[in-house]
């Protein structure tokens, strides 16, 4: 056993601590090292994913303490898919941000890279851990790094956004801790498998209260309405690669945690209605807010919240098809929204103006970036033949199988809103008259490679979704199969 899930977390964490030292030796170490680490992570996760899908879940025991006593990492097919996604996205985002703040030397960039890396590490930790308290730790790590990244620019808006994030984030932490506490008092365990095993015996009142605390806290991270007030500010004030990372790394981890709580700790039936309702409200309010935005990044942020809402709906429906759709949606969201943030930030970088109005006729200056943005916009709305269509279609199919007509109509009505504002932006980019003549910043090679690879993924997954369908089916089946999870973790041979 050469590689193990521990490496995925340990490597970035270690690298994050080492970077200040390495930076002393080599000036650009802060830029290069994360890439190496992420590449390593990517290859490790590739190996692990293969192993998981070939021979079942991996349970990694830390320091020899077997579950339920020690801290352990569990890599089920479900988490394996997300690990793979997060590793890949973290790498792509690093690639995109390779020339980030090229003009600034030393410290600033270093902080940025360290924080990015720690956020990735924390997210991977959330996905991999099999221990509830450990999850809390990782949530804290990601949360604090995310807050730091939000306030990265140290200006007024950044500080305000960071403060909002910190306020809500710390409330979330408190509730998470409360929830864990309650569960620990009732079940006497922090190991998720053991909790799941013992949960049916717990008194309903306490169980539900704990669930509420967990949902509140994880919902805050997963941008659930009405707990998502931090998101628009954070997305729009954070550096662009970080915005992408919020969608592609942090969001993935948060929605994973939510799913883990809902499907493993508790019965799916308990949270089903709540998730559907809150998911739909999230989606509805987010899209309604998005259509009125005048700021590109805020618009994208609200759209992100909408996508998370859709994912919650899918987890709420909870059938195998729905989970498949949800997983596919998370993947799509990570890829497409990152692409949108990446391309969008190039617009902003060129225009020094975040307003949508400034985008008029930008395609003449940034033809390729505009093309990618348009592609992303069409894909995220769910036009075939792009990948966004399949996830949405699968979720709808799952709803259709349960004959939830109002829900379907609701989702699609909200999609109309979503489509309207995305296509408006496309119209602006391509067909409106240009207003100003900004200086031109061409995207760097690394960024181009990053964006192009995402775009290619969108098209490939759209035309040939069967490429990942097998993995996703296995993953979603495993998430539903609570007993196997408990068996695997608790009864290690």
């Amino acid at each position: 056993m050469v590689v193990s899930p521990v490496h995925l977390i340990a490597a970035p964490l270690a690298a994050a601590f080492l970077i200040p030292l390495l930076n002393k030796l080599y000036r650009d170490a802060a830029r290069v090292v994360p890439g190496v680490v992420f590449l390593y992570n990517l290859s490790v996760s590739w190996i692990l994913v293969n192993r998981v899908f070939r021979s079942g879940p991996i349970v990694e025991v830390i320091a020899g303490w077997k579950p339920p006593f020690g801290i352990n990492l569990v890599m089920t097919p479900f988490s394996a898919v997300l690990v793979m996604l997060v590793s890949f996205m973290a790498f792509v985002i690093w690639l995109y941000g390779f020339r980030f703040k090229r003009s600034l030397k030393g410290g600033v960039v270093m902080y940025y890279e360290i924080l990015q890396m720690m956020m990735a590490a924390g997210s991977l930790g959330i996905i991999l851990t099999g221990d509830l308290f450990n999850m809390f730790v990782f949530v804290e790590i990601t949360g604090i790094t995310a807050i730091a990244l939000t306030a990265f620019y140290r200006d007024r808006d950044g500080a305000e956004a960071g403060f909002k994030y910190m306020l809500l984030g710390s409330m979330a932490s408190v509730f998470l801790l409360l929830g864990i506490l309650l569960i620990y008092t009732q079940t006497g365990s922090l190991n998720m498998a053991q909790i799941a095993e013992r949960m049916p015996a717990v008194a309903t009142g306490v169980k539900v209260t704990a669930l509420i605390f967990l949902l509140i806290s994880l919902g805050t991270e997963a941008e659930m309405f009405p707990l998502n007030g931090w998101a628009p500010d954070a997305y729009s004030q954070a550096p662009s690669p970080t915005s992408a990372a919020f969608a592609a790394v942090l969001g993935v981890a948060a929605i994973y945690a939510l799913a883990r709580v809902g499907f493993t700790l508790y019965d799916h039936g308990t949270v089903s209605g709540f998730l559907i309702a809150m998911g739909f409200l999230t989606m509805l309010f987010a899209e309604m807010a998005a259509i009125t935005q005048t700021n590109l990044k805020r618009m994208l942020a609200y759209s992100s919240m909408g996508q998370m809402g859709l994912a919650m709906i899918a987890f709420g429906i909870g059938s195998e098809a729905a989970l498949f759709g949800a997983l596919f949606l998370i993947i799509n969201h990570a890829i497409i929204k990152s692409l949108l943030f990446m391309t969008g930030s190039y617009f902003i970088y060129n225009l020094n103006d975040k307003r949508l109005r400034a985008l008029n006729g930008i395609h003449k200056r940034l033809p390729y970036v505009s093309f990618l943005f348009a592609l992303g916009a069409l894909a995220i709305v769910g036009f075939p033949p792009f990948s966004g269509f399949w996830s949405k279609f699968y979720i709808l199919t799952a709803a259709g199988a349960k004959q939830m007509m109002p829900l379907i109509i609701g989702i699609l009505a909200v999609t109309v809103i979503e489509m309207t504002y995305y296509l408006r932006v496309i119209g602006r980019i391509y067909f409106a008259k240009e207003e100003s003549e900004p200086a031109s910043h061409k995207p760097s090679i690394q960024a181009l490679v990053a964006m192009t690879s995402l775009a290619v993924l969108i098209i490939v997954l759209g035309l040939y979704p069967d490429l990942i369908a097998g993995f996703l089916h296995r993953a979603s089946m495993f998430l539903l199969d609570k007993q196997t999870y408990i068996q695997t973790v608790l009864h290690l041979s």
């Binding site: 403060f163 509420i212 509140i216 036009f383 279609f393 259709g400 069967d466």
Partner: protein, 613 residues
Amino acid sequence: MGIIYVLGILIIGALAAFFVDDLNRKWTGPVAMLAGFGAAAAFAFLPGGIVRWRILGFSMHWETDALAGFFAWIVLGLSALALMYSVKYMEGKARQGYFYASFLTSVAGMFGVAVSKDLLSFFIFWEIMTWTSFLLAIYNAYYGVETKGIKYIIFSAIGAYAMLTAIVLALGQYHSLEFSDLMAAGAFRFSSGNWYIPVLLLLGFAVKAAVLPLHVWAPAVYPKTPMSFTAVFSGAMSKMGILGMLLILTGIFRSATGWELTLVRWVLGWLGGLTAAWATLQAIRQNDAKDLLAWSSVAQLGYIVTAVSTGTRLGLMAALYLALLHAAFKGSLFMVAGAVEKQAGTTDFRRISGLIKRMPWTFLTALIAIISLAGIPPLGGFVGKWLLYESLISETHAYFLVILIFFASTSAFLYSYRFLFGLFLGQEEEEAKQITEVSWWMLIPMLALSAVSVVTGMYPGLIFRPAARALESIGLPAGQWDMSILSNVWGNQTDVFTVGSTVGILFVLWALFITFKGKKNTRWLTTKEISTSGEIPAPEDNCTFQRGFFQPFERAVGRLYRSSMDQLWEDIGAALEAFFGFIRKIYTGNAQTYAMYVIIFVVLLILFRNYIF
């Protein structure tokens, strides 16, 4: 495997056009044209065959039966000609790669819709054709078309998502998306308990077919799209809605009796009739040829929808016949508008007139197409009208509906005349003197489409036979069709061949008479030398009557003109936006509020935990 080749040629053509445009702009158009003709040729010469493949566990089924073939011919034939027309029409315009790539992808989408035999691939192709056409609709940015294009896409999305809802519900209910399976299971029947499935599907098709309350996008978008694509847009893409209606309603038609059929006939039939009448009234008061044609398209689609709704032998034949013929004559009319736009710079009736001497061939095309559109006997349009009326009178006994349709088609004379008069007749503008005829690259497609009207005027059987096969392929009675004799269920006949030859012979005789009688002493004057008032108009004066042309009619119609469906939708849109703006205020941007939300949320959840969980 013909289907794969056709789609392949179109997609490769689209990519090729996109990239060729960067290399050499001159070759973009010809490459696209080659792709268009190549696709048509591939469809003609290769056996269509059946294509089945699975994607994400859904089976896709494409097949070229007679019905698919009929509509595929409308799409591919019209598109090939429109692409040929495009070569010169788009000359010198920007972003040709973008244009042709979208064009060809859109054609591929339409072709896919035509050959799809399951709802999922139908929907996927439908969406492809929709968003590519959106990209084309906003091509002419300088018109300030952004909002209009958005209107189109919103309506399309409403339609498409209605379809999608129906699709996922049908999938949940019947576990198959094959048309044949669903039909066999009775999924498209109102009586099946899932009445919403056919209703939602029909809603989706109604948007594309621009049926009354959902028609507003068409008049907004058709005029602003480049004319070479509008020809396809109006001629072929809207027919996909008709195709969908046919496919959905087949089951109901087959039953031939019952309240479902009555419902379809009443609701859909009247919606079609009202669309036709309303759009005709709107077309009459347009002052721009393109707007006029756009409204006229809506009106013609109204006839077709009504024809579909009858579900009878004559009615369905009328629908298919009109679908093809409308593609032909409206295609050529939009091309005429494009030709005028290219040569004269505008299609506003108030700014140009008297182009007949400058663009005689274009005028000839327009004349034939307009006669066909108006349904005047010797040309093909009459046959469609005849079938429609006879089916409504003798088969479905929709007596008042037929009056409405008749009102629409009589009023259609007004705008038909306005189109010809506004562009081609009247006095010449002084500055119009240097306008020349368009190139043959544009004329040949136009004339070819006009020829369809002429030929079918004498031999409508040329369309009847494939159309009858198409109807039989979906299990509807088509019966025997003669080459040129039309007959209704009461056995009354009209022999269009006799009509055509009589009119032709008499016309030639009298034309010869009037030409050769006193030929020496007949002078041909310019339009400036008119007899009124003995005044000599200055060369720069133009007496052509163009403003408020149908004012008496408008006054007669009166109040009806004051209401506008478009305004209604725009008001709804504005109200929604305002509402969204209000909702957005939930996100106040104030950290304390957000914190309060969290607390309230927690409290609520805990209070109501017994109900929620």
